[in-house]
Amino acid sequence: MENPFGKITALEDVLKLFFNGMTLMFGGFGGVGTPPTLIDAILEKGVEKLTLIGNDTGFPHIGIGKLVSQERAIKVIASHIGSNPIAGKLMHEGKLEVEFSPQGILAERIRAGGVGLPAILSDIGMDNELVSKNKPHFFLNGKDYLIETALTAEVSIVYAKKADPYGNLIYDKSARNTNPLVAMAGDITIAEVEEIVPLGSLNPDEIITPGVFVDHIIPSKGVNWKWAWE
C-alpha cells in the first residue's frame, strides 16, 4: 500500500508512544470495538500506571479488561465496571481509582475534548453524590447544572473497519460506539483497522472519522478473545 502521509505505521513503532504513567483513551463498549492487537501489544510491552478513559472496563479477558485485570492501570474514568469483577475488586482494595461518569455525559466529555471545548453543562446525576462530588455548579436561567470537564488523552486507540492511507475511517455496525469520539480526543490517535484500502476508495460522504484526527494506522490481527456470549 502506498503511504504518502506516512501514517501507516509498524506496530513496533507505535509502541514507542506508550509509556508508564500515561493517559490512554480507548474506543469500545463492553469490549466491542476495542482494538485487540494494540491491547495485546501494550500488555506485552509491560506499560503500567496507566490512566484509562473509556466507556467501561470490558470483561476480565476482553478488551481493555485485559489491561485492568493485569493491574496495569492506577485510574479509570468510565461509566461502569460491572462487567469486570476484577476492576471492582481492585477498586475496593485501593489499587484502582475509579471515576464514574454517566455514560452519555462521559461520551460528551470525550467529544468535547475531541473538538477542543473545555467543558459542557449537564443536569444528569445532579442529585447523585457519586456524579456531582467535587464538580463545580453553574446556575443558568434559574436552574442548577454541573460543569462537566472535557477529557483528552496523550494517546487514543480506536478500532475501525477500514482506513485509507490518510486515516479516514469507517466503522462496522455497533463497533462504532465511542470510537469516533475517542479518535478526536487523543493528542495522538492510533487506529487499528481490519483493512487498509487505497486512497480514494472510500466514499467521502461515508467517512465517519476524517483522517485529520488520525496519526497512525496499524493493521489488526483480529479479535483474539472469546466473547462472553460464546
Binding site: 463492553g30 466507556n55 465496571i81 477498586m91 443536569d123 444528569i124 463497533a175 460506539n177
Partner: protein, 221 residues
C-alpha cells in the same frame, strides 16, 4: 423465589400495551427484554440501544452472531429495516433530547414519588451507573417492570427508597405481577390488578399508601 416465566410474560405483555406504532423504545435487561415478543407483528417500533443502535431486532440464530453487532449488554442482536448506527454521543443525544419515547427497565426499589433505585445492588461492589441515569431522567416515559417484593418478601414499592437513587421522581408507571400503578405528583394510583391477586394483597405487599382509580381493570390475558 423469583417469578415464573408466565408472570414475567404477563408483565411484559402489559408493558407492550404502552407501545404504539413508530415509538422509540429502550429496553433494560431482564423482564423488559421479553416485551418485543408481545407486540403485534406489523407494528413498527424502533428499539434503541445506548451503544448506538436504533432499530434493534431480535437475537440472531446460534452461529449467526456478529461480534460487531451487539446490544448495550454486549450480546449479539440484529438490525431491523430502517435501523441505523451512530456513535454513543448521538445515541444519548436521542435520550436527552426527548426522542426516546419509552424506557422500560427493571428496578430494585421505586418510591411513591417515582424515585428510582436500580443501579446499586446492596452488598455488591459499585458497578457504576452506565446509561441508567440518562434514561431515567430523560426518556419521555419511564416504565418499571419488577417483582412486587424482593427475594426476602419485602416490598419494593416504598414511601422512600432505602437504596441509593438512580434518579428522583422519574418513574411514570410500575408494573408488577400483582398490579399496575401510575405515578402522579400526588402519589401512586393503582389502575389495574392481575387476578387472582386482589386489592388487599397489593396493600399488604406495598409499603406506601396508594389510591385506586375509579374503575380498576382486571387483567387476564
Amino acid at each position: 423465589m423469583g417469578l415464573g416465566v408466565d408472570f414475567r410474560n404477563t408483565i411484559a405483555r402489559r408493558a407492550a400495551e404502552e407501545i404504539t406504532n413508530g415509538m422509540v423504545v429502550n429496553l433494560g435487561i431482564g423482564i423488559p427484554s421479553l416485551v418485543p415478543n408481545h407486540l403485534p407483528k406489523d407494528m413498527m417500533v424502533m428499539f434503541h440501544a445506548e451503544n448506538g443502535i436504533t432499530g434493534m431486532g431480535p437475537s440472531p440464530e446460534k452461529g449467526m452472531e456478529d461480534e460487531n453487532l451487539c446490544n448495550a449488554g454486549g450480546f449479539p442482536v440484529t438490525l431491523n429495516q430502517g435501523g441505523s448506527y451512530c456513535d454513543s454521543a448521538i445515541s444519548f443525544g436521542m435520550i436527552r433530547r426527548g426522542r426516546v419515547d419509552i424506557t422500560i427497565l427493571g428496578s430494585l426499589q421505586v418510591s411513591q414519588q417515582g424515585d428510582l433505585a436500580n443501579w446499586i445492588v446492596p452488598g455488591k461492589k459499585v458497578p457504576g451507573m452506565g446509561g441508567a441515569m440518562e434514561l431515567a431522567q430523560k426518556a419521555r416515559k419511564v416504565i418499571v417492570l419488577m417483582n412486587h417484593c424482593d427475594k426476602a418478601g419485602k416490598p419494593k414499592i416504598l414511601t422512600s427508597c432505602t437504596l441509593p437513587l438512580t434518579s428522583t421522581a422519574c418513574v411514570d408507571m410500575i408494573i408488577t405481577e400483582l398490579a399496575v400503578f401510575k405515578v402522579t405528583p400526588e402519589g401512586l394510583i393503582l389502575t389495574e390488578l392481575f387476578p387472582p391477586y386482589d386489592l388487599q394483597e397489593v396493600i399488604n405487599k406495598t409499603e406506601c399508601a396508594f389510591t385506586t382509580c375509579d374503575v380498576v381493570r382486571k387483567i387476564s390475558y
